[in-house]
Assembly symmetry: C2
């Protein structure tokens, strides 16, 4: 204290004090890697875990090459209500192809897709879903598909917020991805959604390169088209990257067990179990959608992103459960893309 007294022994103008305080606050904010997270046990548990596994000489230290973190996408990194964003892409693709397929106006599942009738789509079951995937995710080259997705994400907007879908991402999770990478983690997306769909924009939006995006995927065939090699997307499914398919996808693509995983629904339960089954300090987290004002509130009864068994397991095993309403200062990042 004497040390400070010496510096403030002379009268200091209140203006200078205010400047100093602002500067101190700015420094604190600059050093907080998770500024959109409210202080509390969830934020503390994340920071404590990262500190443990990155402190050399600590019994919990994990070498950088083993710092694998896996994140579900829908409902964990971006919004999934009223229905997965990829469904809107499918509906828009069906609309765009209608001139070549006038019969779709009267045939299910296309009729429901054109009407945006989610209940009608659900009624068409797995057969309907397979037909929609075949019509919108297959029969074209990988490049052509990526172009379609890029054109769509640049313009399509969420029906409730009217934001582009790539701005329906969660700001606190973007900060978490950055924070982990700054601490030597390799961040992966492990999604039940289409791998090629997410890869088209994940690097720009999440900073996650295509080789770190694992998702559901169809078979590919290699062929020559006018002397130029192409890969054609097939309707046949190669991996359903959901539930038990998530550990399968992780092992197939990464070949290492993650030490941190984040999900939000029962489809992520097996990924979290798999992550926690290894030796040493590990972290499993669930995003719990509790904010019906700033986003959506849903869990056990929701047809999309149902969180029931995984919530029970999280409670029983002490996994972190993010309470969106109370743990997050903001939900979405500031809007960049101008509205139409």
């Amino acid at each position: 204290m004497n040390h400070h007294r010496r510096y403030f022994a002379r009268p200091v103008s209140s203006l200078w004090l205010a400047v100093l305080l602002l500067w101190a606050n700015a420094c604190l904010a600059a050093t907080d890697p998770l500024p959109s997270w409210n202080d509390g046990p969830t934020k503390q548990s994340i920071e404590s875990f990262v500190k443990k596994v990155t402190t050399q000489g600590s019994p919990d230290f994990v070498p950088p090459e083993q710092r694998i973190a896996t994140f579900d996408n829908d409902g964990t990194l971006w919004a999934e209500q009223p229905v997965y964003s990829e469904f809107f892409f499918v509906m828009d693709q069906v609309k765009a192809q209608l001139p070549q397929h006038p019969e779709w106006k009267t045939t299910e599942p296309f009729k429901s897709a054109l009407a945006g009738d989610l209940m009608g789509l659900a009624a068409s079951g797995e057969k309907g879903a397979a037909e929609l995937i075949a019509a919108t995710h297959a029969g074209m080259t990988t490049d052509e598909f990526a172009q379609r997705v890029n054109a769509w994400v640049a313009t399509a907007r969420h029906p409730k917020t009217h934001r582009v879908f790539t701005e329906m991402v969660y700001q606190p999770m973007l900060e978490l991805l950055h924070y982990l990478r700054d601490n030597g983690f390799k961040t992966y997306i492990v999604s039940g959604g289409g791998q090629d769909f997410i890869r088209a924009w994940a690097e720009a939006v999440y900073g996650v390169p295509p080789e770190q995006v694992i998702g559901s995927e169809g078979e590919l065939t290699y062929q020559s088209r006018d002397g130029h090699p192409v890969l054609i997307k097939q309707a046949k499914i190669a991996l359903v990257d959901d539930h038990g398919g998530k550990p399968v996808g992780i092992e197939r693509f990464i070949g290492r067990k993650p030490i941190l995983a984040f999900g939000n629904s029962d489809g992520d339960q097996q990924m979290l179990e798999w992550t926690m089954s290894g030796a040493g300090t590990r972290f499993a987290g669930l995003v719990h959608h509790t904010d019906d004002v700033r986003e959506f509130a849903y869990d056990r009864q929701s047809p999309v992103g149902k969180l029931d068994k995984a919530l029970d397991e999280a409670t029983a095993k002490g996994w972190a459960v993010v309470d969106m309403k109370n743990d997050w200062k903001v939900i979405f990042p500031p809007e960049k893309a101008a509205k139409k």
Copy 2:
């Protein structure tokens, strides 16, 4: 020349000259990233390519995240004669399991595997291969399989050189892998061999982490065993990562087109075509086995690692062809593991 005369105007002892020359040579060696490659057009073409794509401001500059390099394994990074090393693993696994399967003594393909009868194995065809894979690569957890591979690579030896198989790797290619990584490349293995087999030792031997090893692979199933989650290897094949399967594996795992690829056989032809089909400066290389003294000499007629169509295409398109006999100063690294 005047400049030099000034420095050597006074008499210099021949000892000092020798020291200077040694020092100069050491400096050259230290700065040569490919010391086991003889100077010549092949080495020059590699170095010229790397310089082009890494020089900022150059029209050929490629940003680091797009510097993807893919390497075949058998015959490109390690020896594949008289037969793929994984075949020796299969034979040894069959022998180890014989007490539980006495019927194998008289049943094909196991009888031929036990006798090391490659012609007999070949005669059993795809059905025989599938039975051997099922018996040695399936029905166990991914961890159990990795343990078996690790135990095997630690002790099994090549029938001709009596080296452990992980020392049957090509020193010049190890240097190339390091050189590329030092220049911001991400190096991948894209092998027709078993993905899990290679992953068990690729990081220690090649510095390639498991998530950068793509190979042929079987299906996996997720289940709980005594309350502990495991992944069980299935006999059903998920990807044959050879010929057209190589671009498929590359797209599935990486989602970017490589800018450099190296192979040695017709099984690599499509990977090289795929690599060269992108825009900008690219590099395709074939390792041509021309050294029957230090390794093996084979190409168009070889049942293992046949190089025929890809050699014609390399000639027609000007791809680099490594002449092992003349381009490489040494083939294998110095021996480390003591012989039994």
